[in-house]
Symmetry: C2
């Protein structure tokens, strides 16, 4: 059958541009024994994909030029030659950036349907971003009841859930930063943050000191750069940083300056710890049970920014890197 | 009785100078009930004291202008009105920077004599610097057999022991940096480091890559700045940094630049953890048993740079900050 996919046309220097991507029409053979044919319903665009566009091995290998990009997607089985997978089944897999795909049964994770919740939740609050928030806050930063928590990129897929989990687990204060007044209002009004600020309004350190005048115990870092430096300054003795991402650096051609106050880690006995969610698959069951429960109860809210059409996936990806989304950015196919 | 002590005359800006100190003759009353009079034998000069010269609370309060400085010292009881302490006893306490002192019994730690070892060892390899090396390497950095270890300031009181403990505990490679060719030779020839370099010879990152071409698992940081950045670059996946000191920053009037590659902590899942040895007194018994044993067996070597006379304590302190010592810098009184 004929289908369409997005290929990497060239590698970006700095910010990616639409010309780095190419929409390609291609022909899929019929599924072989043990395979399924899947029609993708939603695909994910995530910050980590920017790293894979470079010709440099990071924790995942680079995308190849002239080949389709990959990434999380949910789809519906439309033809099956694999035991245990039937037509109509909902599956999650890594062959995003295309409208249809052939999958070996082992590459398709069968998902229960969610009543009243879009299957795209499996790419966000119940997917990799959700697990990232859960593991980063609870395991990496060792969140404890009563901690004051700051999260950057708080209106993003990960950050919004970090703040909500912290609140539900008894944080003394939850502070978030985001890149627009509308997002700041959303954090305070919809997600229950105690304080939030727009990092474009004034230096982060100054705004963080106002938002958390007694300091913080935990910083969940999605941004790096000035946010990390401000958080190091605001952390109290025995403070902890979960280093999850550094979106400020992803499109920089020169590395941003490092935190000049890093020596405070000694006097304040800080711990800074980086992590990659794929190392923590063993926490999936606990995560799905706890966050899934909150979702069913309405205790956790999740937001999505939805773009329609595979041809718009590159611009959705670039918009997400620019912070134009609220909550999880997904592409509906 | 008449005695002499060193007072803080003024606070330094940048590097301390002799004029920041004043040698003062003073009169000590006879010991009150519960007190001892101690003649100090050796006093310690340590990097952390530089922070206490500033008018800014760090993890210890600042020294006061016009009052004697304090710090670890070992001395001999010459008059006792305290139960459990007799004339001739060797004690360790915090009233250094003076030739004699009155102590409440609770402020004096009675020490066993060491056969063939100078009592000054209680200020170094068996004192706070030794415990710092032990806790930092084993507990904070979580050293494991087979780890490749890099330590900066390796010819100092802490660094020299870090390298030796790592070797004795089965490190795959022990690398040190120091500030002169003589120190580098000392690390390799006397202390058993596998490789060492003079950080003044060429960029640290370049020299570290040559000294540890397969990377490192643990970095024990006494220096900060370019050393920390180089170590972050050289650390392998799941690498750990014990942040102990940042001597590069102690006398700087502007903070040195932060590590520009800190975002590698995410992709390499690094942990950077600061610590202060005084939080870890519960490890003293294990430390004394293990390191004391190595010392008795001759498995661990310790070095001292000894300056004579209280009047020379300020210049010994400044020389230590400039890295002119090999091993522990002490003043014999």
């Amino acid at each position: 059958m004929k289908t369409r996919e997005i290929h990497l046309a060239s590698r970006p220097t700095g910010w990616p541009e639409p010309s780095n991507f190419e929409l390609v029409e291609t022909e899929l053979p019929a599924p072989a024994e043990g395979q399924v044919l899947v029609r993708n319903l939603f695909m994910s665009v995530d910050p980590y994909m920017r790293g894979r566009m470079n010709d440099r091995r990071s924790y995942t290998p680079p995308f190849r030029i002239g080949a389709p990009l990959t990434g999380a997607a949910v789809g519906e089985v439309i033809e099956s030659r694999a035991e245990g997978l039937a037509v109509g089944d909902l599956v999650r897999h890594q062959n995003g950036w295309r409208e249809h795909t052939l999958l070996d049964a082992s590459a398709a994770e069968r998902l229960p349907g969610l009543s009243g919740i879009s299957p795209s939740a499996y790419l966000g609050v119940l997917g990799m971003p959700g697990l990232t928030a859960y593991v980063g806050l609870l395991d990496i930063a060792g969140f404890k009841k009563g901690d004051a928590v700051f999260v950057s990129g708080a209106a993003g897929a990960v950050g919004g859930l970090v703040g909500q989990i912290a609140r539900l687990k008894g944080a003394s204060r939850v502070v978030g930063s985001a890149g627009s007044a509308a997002k700041v209002a959303h954090l305070q009004e919809a997600l229950g943050f105690d304080a939030a600020f727009n990092y474009r309004d004034a230096p982060v350190a100054e705004q963080l000191n106002r938002a958390a005048p007694d300091g913080i115990d935990v910083y969940f870092d999605n941004v790096g750069a000035d946010h990390l430096e401000a958080a190091i300054g605001a952390l109290r003795v025995s403070g902890r940083v979960a280093m999850c991402g550094a979106i400020a650096a992803y499109n920089a051609t020169e590395p941003p300056p490092g935190p000049r106050n890093i020596f405070l880690a000694v006097t304040k006995r800080l711990t800074l710890r980086g992590f990659i969610v794929s190392d923590h698959g063993d926490r999936t069951a606990a995560f799905v049970e706890e966050v899934g429960g909150w979702l069913r109860d309405g205790a956790v809210r999740y937001d999505e920014t939805v773009t329609d059409g595979l041809e718009n996936a590159p611009s959705a990806f670039i918009a997400m890197l620019r912070g134009e989304n609220v909550g999880k950015m997904v592409v509906r196919l």
